[in-house]
């Protein structure tokens, strides 16, 4: 399956782009996408516990299953205001 990844702030800089596409085995979960991305940018590893993941406007846990053609957003800790 392929999944589109939206990255923001520090994570966007580490991945080098605001959007990317990753290819994963069928049945992959959010944590598998994260592992694939840390393969591309090992420095992401230390942001793992502080990063929230959203899909279709809702925060999802790391064991959430992904869907082919779907999209996830990687959200570092907030810094607004």
């Amino acid at each position: 399956m392929t999944v589109r990844v939206l990255a923001f702030a520090r994570i966007r800089e580490l991945l080098g782009a605001p959007e990317s596409t990753i290819t994963l085995p069928d049945g992959a979960r959010v944590c598998d996408a994260w592992s694939a991305l840390t393969g591309r940018a090992p420095a992401l590893e230390e942001l793992s516990s502080s990063t929230r993941v959203a899909r279709n406007g809702l925060l999802v846990p790391r064991d959430e299953r992904l869907q082919d053609g779907g999209e996830i957003a990687l959200l570092p800790p907030s810094g607004g205001g």
């Binding site: 570092p76 907030s78 607004g80 205001g81």
Partner: protein, 138 residues
Amino acid sequence: MFAIARGAIDVVAVEDAVRAPECGAVVTFVGAVRAQSDDGLPVVGLDYESHEPLAVQTFEEIAREARERWGDLRVAVVHRAGVLDVGDVAVVVAVAAPHRAEAFSACAFAIDEVKRRAPIWKKERYRDGPAERWRENP
């Protein structure tokens, strides 16, 4: 009115969006870019980035939670994105309520929640050398 603004925020327009005949109190919080970082570095400006649809949705959720807690309120939240200088308005939260106690409490709640959970990020730029940094809310 719940929005991410690419240009300067019109504070009066945000207030006007919540005014209503049944509301005798309007409390507005205006957040501006401060010239010093929390750890004392001289800030010249900020770059704000957001996940816009999720940020707007988060503003709406916060307003709904405020109404559950303090009753009938009218709430508006507008946050800037892009490049800001010191003194620029970064965020405006306006709350109108029949009486001031609810308006003050709900406005404080709303800005605290915006800072805590809205998907918005800021990078500070400094005068005289220090490399720019992403800054997270405590």
